[in-house]
């Protein structure tokens, strides 16, 4: 029965010891420890949150960059396309111009040739006329005895003309 009969002395000591323990440990251990642990947990949570935020910002930044890059690429493509167009235009214009010029030159040449030709023809005409007159003169001048001699003469004269 001694086993289950409380002893007042021990009971009193236990109460005193527990009160002292609770009082001193609360003041000098539990409160500082709990506070420090809570503070650390908070700071860890904060750090995690800010890391998450930074990650998000980074992702945003990356997306922005990507967008800008895309834009730049599009612009470049546009510029290239324009340049291509301009080149084409220039080439087309130049070709046109050249064509026109060559045509004009040809036209001019043709006109020149025509006029030269006319001149030449006129000259030839006048020469032929002259030669004809000369031949006729010669023919008239020489009293032709026979027909053979006449023919010979004509041929000779024609040869002369040819040689001319």
């Amino acid at each position: 029965m001694d086993l289950i009969t409380p002893e007042y002395g021990l009971f009193v000591w236990q109460v005193v010891v527990l009160i002292i323990l609770i009082f001193i440990l609360t003041k000098f251990a539990w409160k500082p420890v709990m506070k420090a642990v809570a503070a650390r947990e908070d700071s860890i949570n904060d750090a995690l949150a800010s890391a998450e935020k930074a990650k998000e910002e980074m992702a945003n930044l990356k997306a922005d960059n990507e967008k800008m890059l895309q834009q730049a690429r599009a612009e470049r493509d546009e510029m290239l396309k324009e340049a291509q167009q301009i080149k084409k235009n220039i080439i087309a214009e130049a070709t046109d111009d050249a064509n026109k010029k060559s045509e004009a030159i040809l036209e001019k040449a043709k006109v020149t040739i025509e006029s030269e030709k006319k001149q030449a023809l006129a000259e030839i005409k006048s020469q032929v006329a002259e030669i004809s007159v000369q031949i006729a003169e010669t023919v008239v001048k020489k009293q032709l005895d026979n027909k053979d001699e006449q023919m010979k003469l004509v041929d000779k004269m024609l040869d002369d003309v040819k040689l001319n």
Binding site: L3, Y8, L10, I22, L25, K31, V33
Partner: protein, 362 residues
Amino acid sequence: MATHKSFKITVALMLVFFLSPILGIADNKTEDTTEESFNPTEMIMHHISDSHGWHFFGEGEDSFTIPLPVILWTDDGITTFMSSAFHHDVEGEHIVERNGQKFVNYHEKIYLLNEGEDELKFDEETHAALNADRPFDLSITKNVASMLLTVLVMFIFFLGLAKHYRKSKFAPKGFKNILETLVIFVRDEIAKPQIGEKKYMKFMPFLLTVFFFIWITNLLGLLPGAANVTGNISVTVALGLFTLALILVNGNRDYWQHVFWMPGIPTFVKPILAIVEILGVFIKPIALMIRLFANITAGHIIILSLIGLIFILENAGVAAISVPFALFITVLELLVAFLQAFIFTMLSALFIGMAVQEHEHH
């Protein structure tokens, strides 16, 4: 390396633990065989009961016992002397005289003999002392000394832990980290789930103190020659009363309404339930105190019984079986030491949680 070393120390302590009762009982036996045979009940009761000196081994005048202060509060004031003054006598034969008062130690209970008497007499029927009274005994007994040792250990542990945070905001390393983990364990696994996020902070000091006090005391109780503090009913009564006091002081309106006039049931049942609930308020802490007391005492009794078998059967060969068994039980007791601290704290938190809970009105 550190773990290896501490393992070695643990093994060494365990060996000493097993050897000390054997040696102690062996001495007991060699002296006793001439007079009486080995009495296991007496041996076990001696080991699990409180005493005025801290006995390690040996018998009578040859024994190795640390004397502890005896503090008695009599009608004439406080009288103090060392327990060694009784010269290891627990049969009430050796009289210690201080300030004209005669004291005897009968089975670790100190009696103040009435004036003129010089021998303790008992009533045959009731076993009540006829010519002596028990003064209020505030002695530093073995249990009180052991308790103070726990206090010392807790101060070293936790004031050291608190000191760490004054220097650094980072988590401590090594043993302090274990302590911090345990503190967080009490907070996150015991206080928060049982009491709730809002109110747990107020009860953390009590829960932490009780948890570590019970656990460390349990563990110290497993050391060789150690006291059986948490297996003493006076100690567990005090612990249980703390929980009861916290419930009574912090119980809110809802709680008392549920105790005295349970809402939501037919009126004629309410008085019956009130009786049950009022009983429940007291049975809860009583269950706490009995659970802790019985579990720890039972563990000690089992270990001592297994060792005692060797001497009951008077055969050293029995040791081959009973020592491994006792070792197994001791390892189990290491688990029980934690488990009982956890259960006591957990249930205290649960009961406090019930008392402070905000009920949703139906």
